[in-house]
Every structure is written in C-alpha cells, then in structure tokens.
Symmetry: none
Subunit: 188 residues, 4 copies
C-alpha cells in the first residue's frame, strides 16, 4: 500500500495558501485546492476532515510559524529588540505575501475555532516577556503589560505593510522610524 505521505499534506496546505491569495477566502473551493496540490479531490479528505479543519489547521500553523519568527527576545538591549521586531515583521510581509493575505482574511472569519484562537493568542507571550523585562529594568513605563503588548504588536502590524511598499533603499530609515515611535511611546 501507499504510505500516507507527509509531503502530500504539505502540498495541500501550500496550495490552499496560494489559492486564497489568488481568489480570496470567499472564492476558495476544495476542487481548486486539490487541483493546485496535484491530487484528487477525495485525497484532500484523506488528510483533512473538512474544509473548516483544513483552514483552521493552516491558520494555526501559519500564525505560529510567523510568531516564532518575528517575536524573539535575544536578551540584548531593549531598544534594539524593538528594531529587530520591526525588521523581522517587515521582512516577513515582504517575503510571505500569501501568508499575510491568508492571515488577514482568516482573522475575522468563522473558520477559526476557539481552540485555535486561544492557541494563537499565546503568541504574544514573548512580547509580554520582553516588556516585563523592560518594566523590571525601569526602562519602560509602568503600564499594564497587556496594553503595552497590544500597542506594540498592533502598531508594528499596522505599519509593516507601509514599509513593504517602500523601495528597499528607504526601508532602513522606515525601520528606525517605526522602532523609534514605539520606543518613545513606551519608554519611561
């Protein structure tokens, strides 16, 4: 018998991502996903119980991979961490447009289960930890960490697309500017 193939599952997930970029979440059909993945329609259901399950899992994976990539604290000076986050986010947006579109369309959709939403919410924890460190060192304001995390996360999320549209030469300046805004906002 043919062994259940992990690459096939990856093909299907990748195909889903690309389809959503091309036709949008609303226009996504399982047949198109299968075709793009190079498998039969039924095969998709061998690996994923339903369309909902496929999208939910893809969202979880994409979001987690993204979070792990962007939010990491190397323990160095705080100000630098801000720049690193902005840089990582910008790079991600520039290089992973499919993922960005997908996450944007999924965020408010009914496809995301509560479990996944909860798991994804944990992604801010590294940011929280970073900010806690800053507060402990009295470098940052004594504001509720949740508020600060939301501020930092959402600000970068909102600014990144602007930066990605800039010519590469101007991105260094943009990064420093955004990191500077965040820093000035939060610093004690």
């Amino acid at each position: 018998m043919r062994r259940k193939d992990d690459t096939k599952a990856r093909d299907i997930l990748r195909a889903t991502l690309e389809e959503v970029r091309l036709v949008g979440l609303a226009g996504l059909s399982m047949e198109a996903v299968a075709r793009r993945a190079g498998v039969a329609t039924g095969t998709v259901y061998v690996y994923f119980k339903s369309k909902d399950a496929l999208l939910d899992q893809l969202y979880l994976e994409t979001k987690q991979k993204f979070t792990a990539l962007v939010f990491q604290d190397d323990g160095g000076p705080l100000r630098g961490a801000f720049t690193r986050i902005v840089t990582a986010y910008l790079d991600y947006v520039a290089e992973n447009s499919s993922e960005i579109v997908f996450m944007g369309q999924m965020a408010n959709s009914p496809y995301v289960t509560e479990a996944t939403r909860a798991a994804v919410a944990l992604g801010v924890r590294p940011v929280m930890a970073l900010l806690e460190r800053g507060k402990a060192e009295q470098l940052l304001k004594a504001i509720d960490t949740g508020w600060m995390a939301a501020f930092l996360y959402e600000t970068v999320k909102a600014m990144a697309p602007l930066g990605a549209r800039l010519p590469p030469g101007e991105r260094g300046h943009f990064r420093e500017t955004v990191a500077g805004l965040c820093w000035d906002a939060l610093k004690a």
Copy 2:
C-alpha cells in the same frame, strides 16, 4: 439606484448591518437581508444592483460616517486632540457594535471596490491636517505625515476594543494612557 422610497434603501442597509453581526459576512444571504428589512427579495435589487454593490456602498457610508465622527480637529491644543480622538473612537466602539463588526469583516474582503478603498483612504485627511499643524508648530517630530497618520489611526483602532471591554470606571484612565502613548511617540 434608489427611486421613490429612500426609507426602504435605509431599511435594507440597516438590515444588512444587523445580519452581518448575527451571521457574519460569510453567512449573509440576500433573502435574509430582505426578510429582516421587511421587503421581498426582488425589492433589494430595485435599490441595489447586486450583493456586491450593496455591501460596497454600505461599507463606504459606514466608514465615512465613522471617520467624520471620530476624526475632527477643533483647533485646540494638540495633546487634547489626541484624547478626544481616543475618546470618540472608544465611544463609537461601545455604541456601534454592528458597524464595528461589519467594518472588521469587510476590510479584507473582496467586496470592497478599489474606488471605495480610495475614498475611504481619504478619511485620514483630518488626521493628516492635525498632524501637519503639530509639525508646523514644531510640537511633533519631523516624520512623513502619512506614516504618522497611519501610526495614530491604526494604534487607536487596535487599542479601542481593549478599552471597550473595560468596566466604564476604568475607561478614563485607559483613554489617558493611550493618548499618552501616542503623544509620547509623536511629540518632538
């Protein structure tokens, strides 16, 4: 598109807003809209060319009404303007949940035409003007006004839902905090 009965068009727009809150954009059907508006399915098409057109128009109107309400500069001290914006946004979120849900679901959907997206983008202009004034008075940093506007707009947008979930007694503090973050970020 609308002829005789302007009320009927408003009924349909209002019904659409409520339906989206109840069943989501993905679950929205024209029949449900018509039922909720108290008209026949066909009647919807008398006032709106298509589902897309209905949603697009509703998005434009909602967004414009919202922008006009939240972003207005009374010419007073800049720092106070920041607080007023945050306050207005918070109040809007608290009192217009249907509109908030609708705008959230539409933002990344394919229903919004480019024309509407462009028109909506103009909504930041009052913010731009406000910031220009601040820059002229050398109270704010000499950063690209578009960037500053995006920062201010998106930050408040991201923070408002947090504030809306707070008990009313804590909202005053929240407003000041958020306005303070924005001010510190942008001030010269």
Copy 3:
C-alpha cells in the same frame, strides 16, 4: 410575481413516483426528479424542504390514497366485503404499478419518519372495524382483532401481485379463491 403553483408540487410528486419505478429508490436523484417534472433543481426545494421530506410526504399520500381506495366497508354482507377488498387490491396493483413499487421500496427505508409510520398504521382501522362487526355478529372467530386484521391485510397484500400477473380472464376465479381462503380462515 408567479403564484406558488399547486400543480407544480403534484408534478414533482408524480415525477418522483415514476423515477423510483425506473431507477429504484437507491438510484433516485433530485436532478432527475426535477428534469422529469420539467422544473429546475432549485424549484423542487421551493416545494419540498429536502429529499427526505419529499419522499416522506409522497409515501404518506400514496399510502393514504391507496388505503382509502381499498379498505372500505359498505355495510353489506361480510363475505362480500372480503371479495371487494381483494378485488380492489388487485385492481390497484394492476393499474398503479409505480405506486406499488414505490411503497414496496419505501416500507423498509429510512426515509419514512415515525410520524408517517404512525399515520399510515391507522390505515388498518377500516379493516379492524369490519372484523369487529363480524365478531359482533358471531360470524368470525373470537380472535384478537389486531391479529385478524394483520392476517387479512398481509395475505391480500401478498396474493395481489400473483393475481395481477394472471391473464384477465382468470382473475375472477383468483379473486374468489383468495376471498374464500381468507373467509374460511377467519369464519367462526
């Protein structure tokens, strides 16, 4: 607007009956029903909530019409009533092959709801009444009426197809024979 048309519902029911005769209950598709009824697929769903509902309703109607036709007591001599029932059943089988096939295939299917099963079960009541009369007149055995009814009903049901296959000239003899068997079995 077009008025909801009762003949259309009848067309669909009639088409279903004919399709089941041709392709069997298992091979029945809603598209084929619609095509045979001369309407669009969606139209079937205007008149019937689902395939199950369509089949359930058709079963109920068919069975009730059949029962009303076959089981009726004109109050005359009992022995004659037996012949009339056999005759009516035979005629029905000979003239309504679609209905016979349909009822046969539905009887053990999961399409029939409990409510319909209960309603259909009431169809034996005229037979029960007839037998009660016979017992009261001491023409029939003093056996549980339910048992007698089941005997009479099922025997005729089982024999009718045999009679229907006979050349018309022999049917008179067949009727009398079957009626005689039933009579001899139940008479006191």
Copy 4:
C-alpha cells in the same frame, strides 16, 4: 472468488449483516464492513467482486439457510406440520434479528440479481411438496399449489413479527392461532 482463507469471507459476510442491522442497507459502506470484519478495504474485494456481488451472495445464503431451517416436512400429520412451520419461523425471527432486517431490506432492493431471485423462489418447494401431499390425501382444497404455497408462506411471514413481539408466555397460544387460521383456510 474466495481463495485461501474461508474464515475471512465469513467474517466479511457476518460483518455486512451486522452493519445493515445497525445503519440500514442505505447507510452501508464498504469501509464500515471492512472495519467491522477486521480487514482492510481492499481485502473485501479479494473475496467479493463488488458491493453488489457481496450483498447478492449474502442474500442468497441467508435466505437459503433460513428456508432450510423453517420449511421441512417430517412426513407426520399435516396439521402438525403447519404448527411446526409457524413455530420455526417465530423462533427464527426471535433469534436472528440481523438476518430478518437484512432480508427485509434486500427484498425490494436492486441488489438482488434475477438469478438469485429465481434460486430463492425454489425455497418454497418444500412447502409445495407438503401441500401436494395434503391435496393427494384430500385433506386440503383442490386449489393451485402455487397459490396455496404463496398464501401459507406469506401469511406466516407477515404474522411472525407480531408473535415475536409477544411475551414468551403467550407465544404458544399465538402459534396455535396462526396455524389454525392457515389450516382452516386451506383444509378441504
């Protein structure tokens, strides 16, 4: 069709019987049969050419086993033979509910081939022989034997489920009643 392992074929047939009782003929899937039989889906096709073939063969075997069990003439007095048949049928219904359900659902289905239908029809032969004997001894009416056989067979088939639902204590009486009805119907 079956090769090495005769047990495996039996397992599959038995599993099919149980599945039909649990989910009905309409809900039967080959995967469920395989799972219940403890083999892989593909293995079912090693022993049976197709779903149709599996069901057809199972029907033939079940019906033949049933017929052999219920219809047997020990050469004793005719009246007693009637009681024995009713008794055997009742016992069978009480003890083999899977088989009864299966035969009931198959009877009107398109799964049964003409060949099988013909072979199954031969099952009445012992009944025919019994009745021929009775006619020869002039104990029974001089009616077409086929008609008599159909009458006896179908009557018992129709009555048995009623008896099976009775409390065991009342079954003796039921048997005698049914045997009596049949006897009175057919006796000269």
